[in-house]
């Protein structure tokens, strides 16, 4: 594929340039158009001040913040509330799951004990069971628990967060185990000799050394949790407790009160943090991809 043109002293020839490099720009432009037009469309829709958006044919025909303003005073669809719920659930879950996986991964990576190998093996096996297949069990578990402890049952955010936590631990621990193994053991051996306790080695040495990875892990987990639709849609039902993934669809699911402009504005605001985080951390995320993570 790569046709090496080594001689730089030849005079510039537009045809030669086109056949070697220029056509690549054409491909690039075509692919970029394909990639970006749905996003431009939703952005344009969100800025179009008239509900009847589907009748516009030009992107960005008119620009106004009206939809964004009225998005926050819908009584039956509390968008602001959903936003806060999503951020809250996302942060608690991602921090919690990274911390719990780090604890377990530390044991697997640094300590030797009976059942270590079977433990690791069952972690690998368990991640193969897609959590979506456990829906019935999760639903029934929460409905039973909720009869005694309503705060942990159906329609409770704490219940949902526990489910997310439990579901992400298997894969999380296994990933983190790999990262911990990259930290040389000599470091903690030296610390032990200097009199550090195990807790100190874990919190002040290992966790600090893998901090960038922990941060990326947390962000990926945050993005995963906040885009979950199915668990949230089954477990949450009260309009005030919904997340963005389940709430936003209300703008377009009811055939009698579809509101595409409102939905578009909500979608743009919901996507902003994810997209911004993703672009900012592009480098780390893409290098972690080849480690086997598949985005949901």
């Amino acid at each position: 594929m790569s046709v090496a043109v080594k001689n730089n002293k030849r005079p510039f020839n537009i045809f030669r340039w086109f056949f070697s490099t220029g056509w690549r720009h054409l491909v690039g432009l075509a692919v970029c158009t394909f990639a970006i037009f749905p996003i431009l469309y939703i952005l344009s829709t969100s800025l179009y001040p008239n509900n009847d958006i589907n009748n516009t044919t030009a992107l960005f025909a008119d620009i106004s913040p009206a939809n964004y303003i009225s998005l926050f005073d819908q009584e039956s669809r509390p968008f602001g509330r959903w936003y806060l719920n999503t951020v809250y659930i996302g942060i608690v879950t991602s921090v919690g799951s990274v911390f719990l996986s780090a604890l377990a991964a530390f044991a697997f990576s640094r300590l030797r004990f009976k059942g270590r190998r079977p433990g690791l093996l069952s972690l690998i096996l368990m991640q193969m069971f897609p959590s979506i297949l456990g829906l019935v069990a999760i639903y029934s578990l929460l409905s039973d628990v909720g009869r005694v402890f309503p705060i942990l049952g159906l329609n409770s955010q704490i219940g949902l967060m526990m489910v997310y936590l439990g579901g992400s631990l298997g894969a999380g621990t296994y990933l983190m185990y790999g990262f911990f193994n990259t930290v040389p053991k000599e470091i903690d051996e030296a610390a032990t000799i200097d009199g550090a306790s195990h807790a100190r080695i874990f919190f002040s040495i290992i966790l600090r050394l893998v901090a960038p990875i922990l941060a990326v892990q947390m962000l990926l987990s945050y993005i995963g949790v906040t885009s979950d639709f199915i668990l949230a849609s089954i477990l949450l039902s009260d309009p005030n407790s919904l997340t963005l993934a389940t709430g936003l669809q209300q703008f377009i699911s009811d055939p009698y009160s579809k509101d595409w402009s409102m939905f578009a504005a909500g979608a743009v605001l919901s996507a902003l943090p994810s997209v911004a985080l993703f672009l900012a951390l592009q480098k780390y995320i893409t290098s972690g991809l080849t480690g086997g993570a598949v985005k949901g």
Binding site: M1, S2, H25, V31, C32, A35, I36, P38, I39, T45, N54, T57, L100, S101, A104, A107, L111, R112, F113, K114, R116, M126, M128, F129, S131, I132, L133, G134, L135, V136, Y139, S140, L141, R147, V148, F149, M162, V163, L165, G166, G170, G195, S197, H198, I201, S227, F229, Q249, F263, A267, A271, S274, V275, F278, Q282, T290, G292, V294, K295, G296
Partner: protein, 557 residues
């Protein structure tokens, strides 16, 4: 090696602040756990309480004893794993062998309660506004009842006649007895408290407590104990006639009257039958009472999957499409991603970074939002794709039916998934291409290989070694890609063929299973779980075999 200590940890004693932290966290956990155990005991859930106490003691032992370091790090994660993965796995496995579903949604006690709660009909007589109370003297449950016509107040206990309460012994509620009363000053008010009784808020009652209040029948005529005042939502008691009576020792329901709907006649006896229903004389084919319990049904759910004629055609169609969908998605995204990676893998190309940022936007955009956005783009009458890109008339019903007919809907699903997935493939193939040593290219060129030969015989095989596991993971992920199918088409368009099952043109296995479990009138958790197990086996087998083969692949090269 197992059990042998390799290095000695923590020979230095723990620091004071560390110990304080530990005790603080452990104390908080203990406090919460003890509160929960008290609640369990109060609800008479002895087994659950016993298990919780055992776990609590175990956790404290792990953290307070010396040594046993691995357990200290593993316990929190393992507890979560046991509840949310191991329990979930085992429960799914068990459910597959039961008839669990909306008609059989709990244990037998719950079924009995459900039948009892429905076994009455309203008769003529005065009704009462009630508050739930507990007798301070003996803890028995009662209604504090206010007659809605003359305002007289009574205490009503199960199986007893109402006991009048004199005026100075009760206090009235501030709110109107009638919630919709217009004049809140002069409206009739019901008694809220009575001396010697504690008023209960129905919202704070446990399930067990509620059931006990629902059982109360305050008799009004000693000669006819079948007629009494009962409540169904804890605010009003209506004169009702029991239609069935439950005999605890014989475990039977006996009909007291002829059923209004002709299901049973006075004197009929209903006994528990094998299929988890109370049936007339306990015989399987006979009439049943609504409200069943969960029973084990052996391999019946699996028989349904493999032998039910109703299910066969839709299932074959769904399975075929699941494979077509997963394989096509992997192939199309991989080919497009690889093509772009090859095009961009050129030293002299400027602006690569710019292209890259734009191209990974679909990957960075949250998946559920993308699906919704595409639903709008693909709208038949006014969607951007039809009206702008293909220049069809806005609002016309003759436009291309994306998402509305089977063929176009399948095409649309694949197109959207290509949009979602190609950036990921572009990123990973770029990485893999860059890791191929450039000497290999140069050697091939010197040997006279054409560009295509170089790609097909050198780059592609090397690429596949590192990418193959990711392609398999992508296949496994798309095999169960619920979000994209469900949010785009809900599995539709609905199949017009007549079958008992709700199945549509773009349904993949997982959306089909979801519908069996959670949508429609007949939720069938047992059948859905049986499907889940089969899907797990399929995905796990494919993953394991493929991983093995890719390892062999590696050894050859």
């Amino acid at each position: 090696m197992a059990g042998k200590k390799i290095r000695s940890w923590g020979e230095a004693g723990p620091s004071v602040s560390g110990t304080l932290w530990k005790l603080g966290v452990l104390g908080t956990v203990d406090a919460i756990a003890v509160t929960m155990i008290m609640v369990l005991l109060a609800q008479e859930l002895m087994m659950q309480a016993a298990i919780s106490i055992a776990v609590l003691i175990f956790v404290n032992w792990v953290y307070l004893r010396k040594g046993g370091l691995p357990a200290k790090y593993l316990t929190p994660g393992v507890l979560f794993l046991i509840v949310f993965q191991i329990y979930v796995l085992l429960f799914s496995g068990y459910t597959a062998f039961t008839n669990y579903g909306s008609a059989h949604n709990g244990d037998k006690a719950l079924a009995i309660q459900t039948i009892k709660n429905a076994a009455y009909r309203i008769v003529d007589g005065p009704d009462y506004t009630i508050n739930l109370v507990k007798d301070d003297a003996d803890g028995s449950r009662a209604f504090l009842m206010t007659n809605n016509i003359d305002g007289k107040v009574f205490i009503g206990k199960d199986g007893e006649l109402p006991l009048p309460v004199s005026q100075n012994m009760y206090t009235l509620s501030e709110e109107c007895a009638d919630k919709y009363a217009e004049d809140t000053e002069t409206c009739a008010k019901a008694a809220l408290r009575a001396v010697g009784y504690t008023t209960q808020d129905p919202n704070n009652l446990s399930f067990v407590d509620k059931a006990k209040y629902l059982d109360i029948r305050v008799i009004t005529d000693p000669a006819n104990p079948n007629v009494g005042l009962r409540t169904s939502e804890f605010t009003i008691a209506l004169p009702s006639e029991s239609t069935l009576v439950y005999d605890e020792t014989a475990d039977t329901f006996t009909a007291l009257v002829d059923d209004d709907y002709g299901v049973y006649y006075a004197g009929d006896v209903f006994k528990p039958a094998e299929d988890g229903f109370y049936r007339l004389d306990g015989v399987l084919e006979n009439a049943k009472l609504d409200g069943g319990w969960r029973v084990e049904v052996g391999l019946k759910n699996f028989e349904t999957i493999f032998a039910d004629v109703q299910l066969r055609d839709p299932l074959v169609k769904v399975i075929t499409w699941t494979f077509v969908f997963a394989i096509s998605t992997v192939l199309t995204t991989f080919i497009l991603g690889l093509f772009i990676a090859l095009v961009f893998n050129h030293d002299k190309l400027r602006g690569k970074k710019f292209y890259r940022v734009i191209m990974i936007l679909p990957y960075a955009f949250p998946g559920f939002l993308s699906a919704y956005v595409w639903v709008g783009l693909l709208n038949r009458e006014n969607g951007f794709i039809n009206t702008v890109i293909f220049g069809q008339d806005p609002g016309s019903e003759a436009n291309f039916p994306w998402l509305l007919e089977e063929g176009p809907a399948r095409l649309a699903v694949l197109l959207v998934n290509l949009w979602l997935g190609f950036p990921y493939m572009f990123l990973i193939t770029t990485g893999a291409l860059q890791s191929i040593p450039s000497e290999l290219n140069e050697a091939a060129e010197i040997d006279g290989a054409t560009g295509w030969q170089n790609f097909r015989l050198i780059k592609l095989p090397l690429l596949l070694i590192s990418i193959a596991p990711l392609l398999i993971a992508s296949f496994a992920f798309n095999f169960n890609n619920f979000t994209i199918i469900y949010l785009l088409t809900k599995g539709g368009p609905a199949d017009s063929g007549i079958t008992d099952y709700d199945v549509g043109g773009t349904d993949i296995l997982i959306t089909f299973v979801y519908k069996i479990a959670f949508s429609g009138t007949g939720q069938n958790f047992g059948l859905a779980s049986a499907f889940s197990i089969l899907i797990f086996i399929v995905v796990a087998t494919i993953s394991l075999i493929s991983f093995r083969r890719t390892k062999k692949f590696e050894e050859i090269v």
